[in-house]
């Protein structure tokens, strides 16, 4: 008779893979029927002779051991129905050890589930953290970049950006922008930056700010503006992008982990290299809506503190958004909306009324000089 084996028997005289055998149960104990060709000898073992434990890779097998003559025998039962049957047939003396073994299995399974659950939890948690907390990570990273790095970084991009452009070195337009910058920066508390504002000859109606205090105003924007206050409004907005380190935040977001790592290990050259790699992308970098609002609000406060009429900023933005929607680049990077103007008006209403002080220059003559320098060219 050759029965399908349902257990493995181990012993010093048996193969290391175990001898397959058939285990049957009776009221007195178990009977071991070896498979054909097995070195195992058929035997009966009384329940009283057995000691029980849990074993196997996942601790889910029932391990029975006993002595046959001088040699130790260990039997591994894996079949769940056989294990259940054994527990039912076993006499009360074995109940306590069986219970202990079962408890052990439960504990192992529980800890596996716990581990599995916490592994899934950690993965999901990390995912959520990256999804929702990326802004926090960016903020944390940006806060760790020293101002000097930011300045070097901005300088590198600034040089690249303006290498092919005509930068106005002198003239009424340059002095006008310098006057605006001076009046604004005088009112910035705790200013760690040395702002460098350049006027670039270009028909593009735009202005942009780079990390480290590099601000560029295009002559196109100056020609479109109806007063110095309007340009000062844009300038104030851009200065505040720098002060809030918005450019740096966007950059860290774009460069991602590489930037974080080079900041953590203090690799300044690496960071600048990365920024260069981005190249002019940084110039056309779109700020997020939150960053725009922040720069608007702090910008208008700065204007008010510098006693520059803040209405110019709002009026200019609104006028440009209505008329030249397609051609004005300012709004590709600074999208204007009714809600944004509304927000600015609300902010303005809350600010203390200060009587504005006019600029020393005549705006009309600045614009004429710009037109003239273009003709000469």
């Amino acid at each position: 008779m050759n029965l399908t084996p349902n257990a493995l028997c181990f012993g010093d005289d048996l193969p290391a893979t175990g001898a397959p055998c058939r285990v049957t149960l009776s009221v007195d104990g178990l009977r071991l029927i070896p498979s054909e060709g097995s070195p195992l000898i058929e035997e009966s073992v009384a329940f009283a002779a057995l000691s029980v434990a849990a074993g196997g890779l996942d601790h889910d097998q029932l391990v029975l051991s006993w002595m046959t003559g001088a040699s130790a025998r260990t039997l591994y039962l894996k079949d769940p129905t056989l294990i259940v049957a054994f527990r039912r047939m076993a006499p009360p003396e074995l109940t306590a050890p069986l219970e202990r073994a079962a408890e052990h299995v439960r504990r192992v399974r529980h800890s596996h589930r716990l581990f599995g659950g916490s592994a899934v939890g950690i993965v999901v948690g990390l995912g959520l953290l990256l999804w929702f907390g990326s802004d926090l990570i960016v903020e944390w990273t940006v806060a760790r970049i020293p101002i000097e790095w930011e300045q070097k970084l901005g300088e590198a991009v600034y040089q690249d950006a303006l290498s092919k452009e005509t930068v106005l070195k002198e003239g009424p337009a340059v002095s006008a922008v310098q006057e605006m910058t001076q009046r604004l920066t005088d009112k910035i508390l705790h200013n760690p930056y040395k702002f460098q504002v350049s006027v670039v000859q270009s028909p593009v109606v735009n202005a942009f700010a780079l990390p480290g205090g590099y601000v560029v105003v295009f002559t196109g924007l100056m020609k479109k503006a109806e007063s110095g206050e309007e340009v000062a409004g844009v300038l104030s907005h851009e200065l505040n992008h720098v002060l809030q380190r918005h450019g740096l935040e966007r950059m860290v977001k774009m460069l991602g982990l590489a930037a974080v790592v080079s900041i953590v290990v203090g690799d300044q050259q690496g960071l600048i290299g990365l920024a260069r790699e981005l190249g002019l992308n940084l110039v056309t970098l779109k700020f997020g809506r939150e960053q725009e609002t922040e720069a608007d609000v702090t910008g208008i406060r700065l204007l008010s503190a510098a006693r520059i009429a803040p209405e110019g900023m709002i009026g200019f933005f609104e006028r440009l958004s209505e008329k030249d929607k397609e051609r004005v680049e300012l709004f590709s990077t600074h999208p204007m909306s009714a809600a944004r103007a509304e927000r600015l008006r609300a902010e303005l209403a809350e600010l203390p009324k200060r009587s504005p002080e006019p600029f020393t220059f005549e705006w009309k003559s600045i614009q004429e000089s710009l037109a003239k320098s273009e003709l000469n060219k």
Binding site: L57, Q61, S111
Partner: protein, 227 residues
């Protein structure tokens, strides 16, 4: 099904004789040559989802190929991808083997293959990944290794320590814990062993005499870098 190992050593092949209608499952791409009576089918062991989970989770090839002697008896030659030995074992229906994902070469029709998730610590630190193959059933099972294959036989409660990247397969009656190779972390790392598995019998552990990861690191220095 009968089999014989040709050219034992580093570059072996298995010749499998199939009777009319018999099949053998093999790692996809393992077939080298076959009689014209043999048909090759791609079969997804455990159904599509089973195959998918095996692919996604254990990195094992998506399909096993099934070679069927549908037009009369014939023979098939099978070989693994990496240089190394092949071992043939007979499954008795009770023994179960845990096999790391690259270890499976071929199995008879009665051999059952499942992916199994390991516990977190074993998966993270064991070096075989979170998922391994659980192979049970009856019939011949062929495993392959990188380098020579070595069998360690463990008596009940006998212990043995194995560098985890040398593991090929082990029976499910053994248990193992992952430990540091030396008592301190620094010594563990500098000894080049890092983490090891402490196996406890009864059962059998198959190990490979070469470590694929270390070999990869070693050979990398000779690969020209293309710019």
């Amino acid at each position: 099904m009968k089999s014989e190992i040709l050219y034992p050593g580093a570059f072996p092949m298995v010749r499998v004789y199939l009777a009319d209608g018999e099949t053998v499952k093999a790692e996809s791409g393992a077939m080298v040559a076959a009689s014209p009576t043999i048909d090759i089918e791609s079969k997804m062991e455990g159904g599509f989802l089973g195959a998918l989970s095996r692919k996604m989770l254990s990195g094992e090839k998506f399909f096993f190929q099934t070679l069927r002697a549908s037009r009369g008896a014939g023979e098939v030659l099978l070989a693994p991808t990496v240089p190394g030995e092949i071992v043939v074992m007979d499954l008795d229906g009770v023994n179960e083997y845990m096999v790391q994902k690259d270890g499976f070469l071929a199995g008879a029709e009665g051999v059952k293959i499942e992916s199994k998730m390991q516990s977190l610590t074993r998966g993270l630190l064991g070096g075989e990944g979170f998922f391994i193959l659980k192979i049970s059933g009856t019939g011949q099972l062929m495993l392959n290794s990188f380098g020579a294959i070595h069998k360690i036989e463990l008596k009940p409660n006998e212990e043995y320590i194995v560098d985890n990247s040398h593991l090929v397969a082990w029976t499910s009656t053994t248990t193992y814990n992952i430990e540091k190779a030396s008592s301190g972390w620094i010594a563990s790392l500098t000894s080049g062993e890092g983490l090891v598995c402490r196996f406890r019998g009864p059962g059998v552990v198959y190990i490979q005499s070469r470590n694929p990861g270390s070999f990869g690191n070693w050979i990398r220095q000779f690969i020209p870098v293309s710019e």
